[in-house]
Amino acid sequence: MIYKVSYVVIGKPHLGEIVNLEAPPRVGDRVQVGGEPCEVIEVIDLIPPRENFAYLHVTCRPVQEKK
């Protein structure tokens, strides 16, 4: 399965990102969106899957990386 994922970062004028992944993101995952560290807080099916493609929308919140 290929997961076409739309990422949006909550609470800031962030550009978001669209990318294909081999595994679906899960709530609690740490990801880089637009080059910034974020935590996944919601994953929803954006539209029904088509053949070997699934379409997800992921909402993230910014996190501060530990120094």
Binding site: I2, K4, V8, L15, I18, V19, N20, Y55
Partner: protein, 159 residues
């Protein structure tokens, strides 16, 4: 991984056979960019559609630019696109000039560039390929619009 394998990772070719994707792959070539490189510039003529094989690009539009005023236009980022994504597809459909500037974000970003005219001719000569490619372009544009709408709703700002 072969070019055909890479292209089959893109939604643009979903529903086509390996042989049909090979036909499309034969039309184009792989090109590499470094971070900061401008791949296409808003307002320029459009000749190619691009599939991202690896790396990341950023899509930007100018705001408030007036042709007679000197200085660089203010650019607003719309989205970043990663592996498997497509850009330049609007020009394939409407043959207009580039609607946005696309800039490379990661060194070594690899794209597959397919000449618009050659792809258009293939779609004209093989209507099944043409139908599938156009349907997939419509689906991709719809996905990008949904992404933008959700982003607007969450950030409460301008797209």
């Amino acid at each position: 991984m072969s070019v055909t394998d890479l292209l089959q990772q893109s939604e643009l070719f979903l529903g086509l056979t390996t042989r049909q994707v090979e036909q499309i792959a034969a039309l184009g070539q792989e090109v590499a960019y470094q971070a900061g490189d401008v791949i296409v510039r808003e307002g320029d003529p459009s000749d190619e559609i691009y599939v991202i094989c690896s790396g990341t690009v950023e899509v930007e539009v100018s705001r408030g630019a007036i042709a007679d005023v000197s200085g660089p236009p203010r650019l607003t980022s719309l989205a970043r696109l990663g592996q498997g994504q497509v850009f330049g597809e609007m020009a394939l459909v409407d043959r207009g000039v580039r609607s946005a500037t696309v800039r490379c974000v990661k060194d070594g970003t690899a794209l597959y560039a397919i000449p618009r005219q050659a792809l258009w001719m293939l779609c004209d000569s093989d209507h099944h390929i043409g139908y599938v490619v156009m349907r997939n372009i419509a689906a991709d544009l719809s996905f990008k619009l949904r992404h933008r709408n959700l982003r607007m709703r969450l950030v409460g700002g301008e797209a």
